[in-house]
Amino acid sequence: MPNSRRLSNAASRRHLLLPYVLVAPAVAVLLALSIYPLIYSITVSLQVGDAWSIGNFTRLASDNFFLTAMAHTFVFAVAALSCEFLLGLGLALLLNSQIRGRGFFRATLLVPMMLPPVVAAIVWRLLLNPNFGAINGTLKEIGINTEALTWTASPSLAMMSVIAVDVWQWTPFVFLVLLAGLQAIPQEPYEAALIDGSSRWQTFWHVTLPLLKPAILIVLLLRTMDLLRVFDQIFILTEGGPGFATETISLYIYRSAFRFFDFGYAAAMSFVLLALTNVISVVYIRLLRNESRA
């Protein structure tokens, strides 16, 4: 008897340890490759030359390039997010109605979002090229003067162009999530609204939108995070130019680190970006929590 009890004790201890054993490797990898780099980055950001200093952080406030890059990031994020949300919602509502071949439309509308961002940007460089791009070529065909339309090469049109490319690539994502949200709404509230005699607009405003709110918040959260860190498409389309016209914060950090080898300053800026995305995601998550409580 004592023997078997000792055995079962050992077995149950092993059983208690099992979850930790299973989780440990993943946690170790994340500590080594997500958390340690952050700590490493803090130490790098707190050094100027070989001395400890907060110089990299104080420099931020007076660096006009940094402030401009922040402003560009906001303009880019707000403009792209609004367009993607409105277009994505419109498409989702359209496909949620009685449509033949919904599966076909849904699948093909998703193509832009699946492309590697680098390839999506190449696609648009081919289209927007002022000399032989298909857009100006086609506009010329129908009699429009395209001389001023130099798109990514023009300081005034470049930002609009990179926003348009992002909207093209990521509206499908918003559409897909919102369509899933719409299809998860049960029929009963609509039937009740019909009986109450509410108009289509009232039904949309008082039934659809409130029930869709969790999906909306999730998709806005995910898009906002991606938009604030945007790098790939702009790097390929304009490299932040012409001049500084489309330089966003990720590009400026990249340039500081890997062109000017100012790793300390790049690290300092990356913490501003990290803080910013954290604050914004906390706001969204609060809203989501209130939503699930209500």
Partner: protein, 273 residues
Amino acid sequence: MSRALKYLLLFLSLGVALAPVYWMVTISLKSEVDHFASPPPWFSFTPTLEHYYEAFVTRSFAQYLVTSAIVAVISTLCALILGTLAAYALARFRLPYELDRKLSLWILSTRMFPAIVTAVPLFLMMRDLRLLDTKASLIIVYTAFNLPFVVWMMRGFFDEVPRDLEEAALVDGDSRLGALVRVVLPLVAPGLAATAVFCLIVSWNEFLFALVLTQTDASMTLPVGIAGRVTQYEIKWGVMSAAGAVAIVPILVFAMAMQKYLVRGLSLGAVKG
């Protein structure tokens, strides 16, 4: 809204979504003379495979393609193994101090870091470890990048498997891990496959880390190889388009194969779709 208007809008959106991609494919198939033709030939041109030949035979794009595949497959396998084990533990065991819940949230939060924030220190770390410009560095970084995603997705799939099934297996004398492998994994196999495909796509498409961590043909992935051709003085549009067209193919095949899980994967499991 009338039916006709609905379909008109839908086909218009379809055109906007697909025409740009179609245009790139035509550029990859047109001889250089046709690239600069005015009006731009959308449909009538004589197709040629010269750019594909130049990209994949004369230049190094075949090598980039192989590197991309190796890095994507190995990092996906590593993330799946580590992530599935962790997800199983987090789905099935209640740990003291709500540790299971806190760990899950912490793991998810590491996924939310903007890539550029970790790219700078990871470059310095890889430099210290003399791993710059190796496939190993990319495999390591992509494993860590995909890991939170795997944990979060698989935890959701495990939650959907009734506990009774495993408990029956445990009563029959299976060990916990035996029950996981024999009973639970077969049930979550579709979810596991979808998760794997997502990791493959993410690694295949990834650009910033690959740009920062690789320098030579020996370790460049396809996106970096393509991007490298943009910033040169003379841009080879045909070659770039050919490489771009090839880069798209596996992604589209994969995406179509797992449409059912697309919403769930893209929203990190937040919307069940």
